[in-house]
Symmetry: C2
Subunit: 295 residues, 2 copies
C-alpha cells in the first residue's frame, strides 16, 4: 500500500524547492518586495493545489519538471489572494496560519503590492516556461486555463460574490456558486492543468473535472465545519468568525449534521469519479485527507 504522508512530502519538497529557486531577489533593489512575497509564500501553507497538480501529473505518467511551473504559479495566485483577502478593507484579518498577516508586518501598501507582485509573477513564470521552445501550444493552453480560473470568471468573481453576501442571508445555491468560484475554480485548475499540458483524452479530463468539483466542495464544507468547531490554536487563525460576521456557511445553512453528511457524500463522489483512471491511490487519499484534516 502506498504511504500517503511520504508521497505528499515528496511532492511538497518539489514545490518548496521550486519556490526557493524562483523567489530569489536578484539584487538589493528587489529585496523588500521579495521579502514580503516570500513571507506570505512560506507561511506554512499545505500546498494543496500544487500537490494536487503533481499527483495528477504522476497518475498521467507525466514529467513533473514540466508541470512544476504551472503548479507553483497556482500557489502564487492562491497566496496573493490570501494577502489581499486579509487586508483591512477586505476581511481585516490579523493572523493567517498562526503568523501576523502581510499588512501587519509590512504595512498595507506593501501588502497590496506584494499581492500584485505574486499574481504577476505567476504569469511571468508560466510564460517563461511556455516559451522554453517554439512547440508551446499546450503550455500556453495550460496558462490560459489557470488565468481563467483566477480571474473575474473564477476566483475573483467568487470574492466579489462573497463581498456582496456579507451580512445577508443567502440561498444554498448562491453559497455553492460562490465557493465554486472562490476556492473551487483554482482547485479545478490545479487538477486539470497536467491534463491540459499533456493533452490528455477528453474522458480523463471529464473524470478529473468531476473529482475536482467534489474535492472543492468537500474542502469548503470542511473549512466551514472547522471554523464552527475548530481550535484556533491549531488553525492559526480566529475561529467562530463566520457566525460573528453573520456569514452564511454550509453549517449555518444546513446544520452541522447535514453538513457532515454532504462532506461524506462529496468524498464518495470524488473517489467514484476517478475510479476508471487506474492508479488513483494518492488522489483517493487526498480526498479523504481534505475531509479529515484538522486545519
Amino acid at each position: 500500500m502506498m504511504d500517503f504522508n511520504k508521497e505528499y512530502k515528496l511532492y511538497l519538497e518539489s514545490v518548496e524547492e521550486w519556490i526557493t529557486v524562483h523567489l530569489k531577489a536578484q539584487d538589493p533593489l528587489r529585496k523588500s518586495i521579495y521579502d514580503a512575497m516570500n513571507y506570505s509564500l512560506t507561511a506554512g501553507g499545505k500546498r494543496l493545489r500544487p500537490v494536487l497538480s503533481l499527483a495528477v501529473c504522476s497518475m498521467l505518467n507525466g514529467d513533473e519538471v514540466a508541470v512544476l511551473p504551472f503548479a507553483c504559479a497556482i500557489e502564487l495566485i492562491h497566496t496573493y489572494s490570501l494577502i489581499h483577502d486579509d487586508l483591512p478593507c477586505m476581511d481585516n484579518d490579523d493572523f493567517r496560519r498562526g503568523k501576523p498577516t502581510s499588512h501587519k508586518v509590512f504595512g498595507e501598501a506593501m501588502a497590496v503590492l506584494s499581492g500584485d507582485g505574486l499574481l504577476n509573477l505567476a504569469f511571468e513564470k508560466m510564460l517563461e516556461e511556455t516559451i522554453r521552445d517554439a512547440d508551446c501550444y499546450y503550455r500556453a493552453k495550460t496558462a490560459r486555463l489557470i488565468a481563467d480560473a483566477a480571474g473575474t470568471n473564477g476566483m475573483i468573481l467568487g470574492q466579489v460574490i462573497d463581498l456582496e453576501s456579507e451580512n445577508k442571508d443567502i440561498s444554498y445555491d448562491r453559497l455553492c456558486d460562490m465557493h465554486q468560484k472562490k476556492t473551487g475554480a483554482l482547485i479545478r485548475a490545479a487538477v486539470l492543468a497536467p491534463a491540459e499540458l499533456f493533452n490528455a483524452p477528453e474522458e480523463i479530463k471529464k473524470a478529473l473535472e468531476s473529482y475536482a468539483r467534489a474535492i472543492g466542495l468537500a474542502f469548503q464544507i470542511k473549512d466551514d465545519i472547522l471554523d464552527f468547531e475548530g481550535d484556533s490554536a491549531v488553525l492559526g487563525k480566529t475561529t467562530g468568525k463566520d457566525s460573528k460576521n453573520h456569514k452564511s456557511t454550509f453549517v449555518t445553512l444546513l446544520g452541522r449534521e447535514k453538513a457532515r453528511e454532504l462532506l461524506k457524500a462529496s468524498v464518495d463522489q470524488a473517489l467514484e469519479s476517478i475510479k476508471p483512471l487506474g492508479d488513483t491511490a494518492f488522489l483517493d487519499q487526498m480526498a479523504v485527507y481534505i475531509a479529515e484534516r484538522e486545519k
Copy 2:
C-alpha cells in the same frame, strides 16, 4: 503631411472598440465587478500605451488586429496600477482624470478586486489570443515581454521604490531608476510588443528600445513639470502634490529650467533613435506630443 490628431483618433477608436467588445459582463453575476473595471477603464485616459503599440505596428506594416489584444492588455495593466496606486493606503487620491477614484465610488474592497481583475484579465486576453492557433510562439513571447514589464522587475518594482522614497531626499540616479521601472517599463513594452510579435530584426528592436526609453523619460519629466505648474482643473487631479508630499521630482532635483532642457533633449533623442526606420512621422510627433501636452 500626416495629420497627427486624425491618426491618433483612428488608433484610439480601435482601442475603444476592443475595450467595449471585451469588457462586457456575460451575466448579472459579473455585473458589479465589470462595472467597477469599466469605470476606471473608461475614465478618459489618453491611451498612450496602446496607441504607441498600434503606431509601431503600422510602421512595421503589421496586422493591427493581431496587435490589439496585447496593446489593450497593456492598457488594462496600466489602469489596474492606477486603481491600486490611488488607494488610501497608497497615494490616497480622491480624484483621477477629473472623476472620483475607484475606491471613492465602489469602496476600497471593490477597488482592490477590480484592480486584481484587470491585471488578471490582461493575461486572460493575451493568452486567449496566444492560443488562437498552434503556431503561437511569438504571441507567447509578446505576452512574456509584457508580463516582465508589469512585474517585480518593472512597474511593481518602480512602485516599491517610490513607496520607499517617500519623505526622503533621493539621488538623481535613483529617481531615474524609479521612473524607468514605474512608468518606463510599460511604455517600453508597448513600443516593443509589435516588434516582438512580428519578430522584427534586432536593429529595429534596438532603435525602438532607445526611442521608448527617451519618450518614457520625457513623459515623466513632463508629468513633474505639470504637477509643479499645471492647472488642476485641466489635469483633473490635485497639482502641487509632489512638493506637498516632499517627493523628489525632476523639477525639485534639477530645477525647472534644467528639467525643461532635459525634456527637450529627450525628445531629440527619441527622434534621432528611430530616424533609420523609415516612415516615423507619427512616432516623431508622439514624442513631441508627450513633451508638449497640457495634461
